[in-house]
């Protein structure tokens, strides 16, 4: 039986709470499938908003895809964009209100397929926005169709014999593509597969937020994430598959870092 977490953690006398839900994250059960990485990424964003003290001046833009309901899980203001247009929506907010912290949360169908024009031009303009890109190589919500990021040979519902790159081309590497643009301040890719990698993700996300707050330019963090249900794998197998296979197509690391060196 699944039970809802209690609003106030009960801490017995003599103990202290060392790990809790971030203030920016609602006390609500995620609707995501078992083994899905969205929950981890959501939590990391909420942690960051707390850490930077941004709860009162954050506007998040959620996409169309599995995370279409992301606005249900955060405490700050959120806008639900149409499929692929989150960078344009974020531009509309940020150009009027440069004092706000504006981020988009976009999957690979949203960002790398239908929204390719919007993400490239937002990056080229150096929009002061932070993009949290979720790459699981598949259209999850619609039932597991091929994405521009699906790996060669990957079986999906629209490539049942495996992705034939002779007909469909090779996967789109968004970070490498955007790295040619001068408006970009920060680009990094990280698999959300282990506590160690999640700590790396925290560091990258911190940098991507600083790029906006310090007025340096456009920033994007690409998370390599698992979709066990549409991949037809157990959650553990899915995470292993990212570390053994997906990273070969999408190498993790910082791709662009134009942040000024820390003075401390």
């Amino acid at each position: 039986m699944i039970t809802q977490a209690t609003a106030q953690p009960v801490v017995e006398e003599g103990y202290e709470c060392t790990f809790d839900r971030p203030e920016s994250l609602k006390d609500k059960q995620f609707h995501y499938c078992p083994g899905c990485s969205h929950g981890i990424y959501h939590r990391l964003i909420a942690e960051m908003v707390d850490e930077f003290g941004l709860l009162d001046r954050t506007v998040g833009i959620c996409p169309v895809g599995c995370s279409v309901f992301a606005y249900r899980y955060f405490e700050f203001d959120m806008i639900e964009a149409s499929h692929g247009r989150a960078p344009a929506v974020a531009t509309g907010v940020k150009r009027n209100r440069p004092d706000l912290f504006v981020f988009t949360y976009q999957g690979d169908g949203d960002l790398a397929a239908i929204g390719t024009a919007e993400i490239i031009h937002a990056a080229a303009r150096g929009e002061r926005m932070t993009v949290f890109f979720v790459n699981n190589g598949i259209f999850g919500m619609t039932g597991g169709q091929m994405a521009p990021t699906s790996l060669p040979g990957q079986k999906t519902t629209t490539s049942p014999a495996g992705r034939d790159v002779g007909r469909t081309g090779q996967p789109l590497k968004i970070c490498e593509l955007l790295s040619t643009l001068d408006g970009v301040a920060y680009l990094a890719r990280v698999p959300l597969t282990s506590p160690k990698n999640i700590n790396v993700a925290r560091r990258y996300m911190r940098n991507a937020i600083r790029a906006q707050l310090d007025d340096v330019g456009f920033a994007l963090v690409e998370a390599l994430t698992a979709c066990p249900v549409q991949w037809g794998m157990t959650p553990v197998k899915a995470v292993q598959y990212i570390d053994s296979t997906v990273v070969n197509m999408f190498p993790p690391g910082e791709i662009v870092n134009r942040l000024p060196a820390k003075k401390d």
């Binding site: 009162d56 639900e80 531009t91 024009a117």
Partner: protein, 352 residues
């Protein structure tokens, strides 16, 4: 209105009218015949401390509008027919999320790439929804350069009041022609309604604001749609229209925008031939001034609808009249403007 009488192009008057109407930001993409709007706003918006940005497409423009309107700003874009078609998904989202904004369509000939010459072929798209789902724009039709200047402020007020997209439906003639208009020399900030629903950072607010058109529960979506439809009923009480020479008229000519200018000239020429003709000009195309039209049409012999289309608004006239009077139609397409004498001849012909 305080200001200087000057000779000015319709598109430029419209740009200045937007600034006068408290437009906070403009996002747009070039397309003929509306290019003077972004060209003027590219320098004028920063001068009055507003935001101007040229987008990479009309799809992007309308979504920048969606974001800006979500943040509580008075946001505007302008385009022409093919560009407006690209905005339809975004407009549907804006209506669904109950956001106010202003979209200007300086219509050109279609379908397809069509031409860059004036047309009224986008009436259905503007007034009947255009995008997917049950929604309407609030549509305003200017007929001279002075109204190109004054309508943006009115349209913004309507949009804010009803939290619904407003559209100014002009055409290539109104955009390109020059005529005298009174334009103020400065545009001080104006008072605008508070928008406590805006997603512009909590800033002390004790709850989250969400802008959204996703209502997954069918019963909730049904209720949401009914609420939107109720706004249109309310807005219908504020529909606007204008009349000329209607008191003694036997033929009532119904036309909007530049076609109404031609129709008025036709009415005057008909009167010189002894045929009493008058003009009914809808100013709001949605909500349509059906009741005022029925009132004005009482006792007339015929209605003649004149449009630069194959006959689109004529359907709303027939719905309003519901068979009470014969409704005839005269229209040209592709940028062809009927001459006043052609309208006069048609008036005389329909009277029989």
């Amino acid at each position: 209105m305080q200001g200087k009488r000057q000779l000015i192009k319709g598109n430029e008057a419209l740009g200045l009218g937007a600034i006068a109407g408290g437009c906070d930001c403009f996002f747009g993409y070039p397309i003929t015949p509306q290019n003077e709007v972004p060209e003027l706003l590219s320098w004028a918006m920063p001068r009055w401390n507003r935001v101007f940005l040229q987008a990479e497409s009309e799809v992007s423009s309308i979504n920048m509008i969606y974001g800006a309107a979500s943040a509580g700003m008075r946001a505007m874009t302008s385009s022409s027919s093919p560009g407006i078609s690209l905005m339809m998904e975004g407009l549907s989202y804006i209506a669904g999320a109950e956001l106010p904004c202003l979209v200007v369509n300086v219509m050109r000939g279609g379908p397809g790439l069509g031409s860059i010459t004036p047309s009224q072929g986008d009436y259905f798209q503007a007034c009947k929804g255009g995008g997917h789902g049950d929604y309407h724009n609030l549509v305003f039709a200017p007929w001279n350069v002075q109204e190109m200047f004054s309508f943006p402020a009115m349209a913004f007020d309507f949009a804010d009041k009803y939290r619904n997209p407003a559209m100014i439906l002009a055409d290539g003639v109104l955009g390109q022609m020059m005529e005298p208009a009174i334009i103020p020399e400065d545009f001080p900030p104006i008072e605008k309604p508070a928008k406590p629903w805006a997603t512009n950072g909590r800033n002390g607010r004790n709850c989250q604001n969400v802008i959204n058109s996703l209502v997954i529960d069918p019963y909730e979506l049904n209720d949401h749609c009914k609420k939107i439809q109720a706004k249109y009923k309310q807005a219908a009480k504020e529909c606007k229209w204008d009349t000329r020479y209607v008191e003694d008229a036997d033929v009532l000519v119904v036309a909007y925008g530049i076609a109404a200018r031609l129709a008025l000239s036709g009415c005057k020429l008909a009167r010189k031939k002894g045929v009493k003709a008058g003009l009914f000009r809808p100013i709001t195309l949605f909500p349509y001034p059906s009741e005022p039209l029925r009132d004005v049409a009482k006792g007339k012999a015929r209605i003649l609808v004149v449009e630069l289309s194959s006959g689109q608004m004529v359907e709303d006239v027939r719905l309003a009249m519901n068979g009470a009077l014969p409704v005839e139609f005269y229209g040209e397409m592709g940028g062809v403007l009927p001459s006043p004498s052609e309208v006069r001849d048609k008036i005389i012909e329909v009277l029989g």
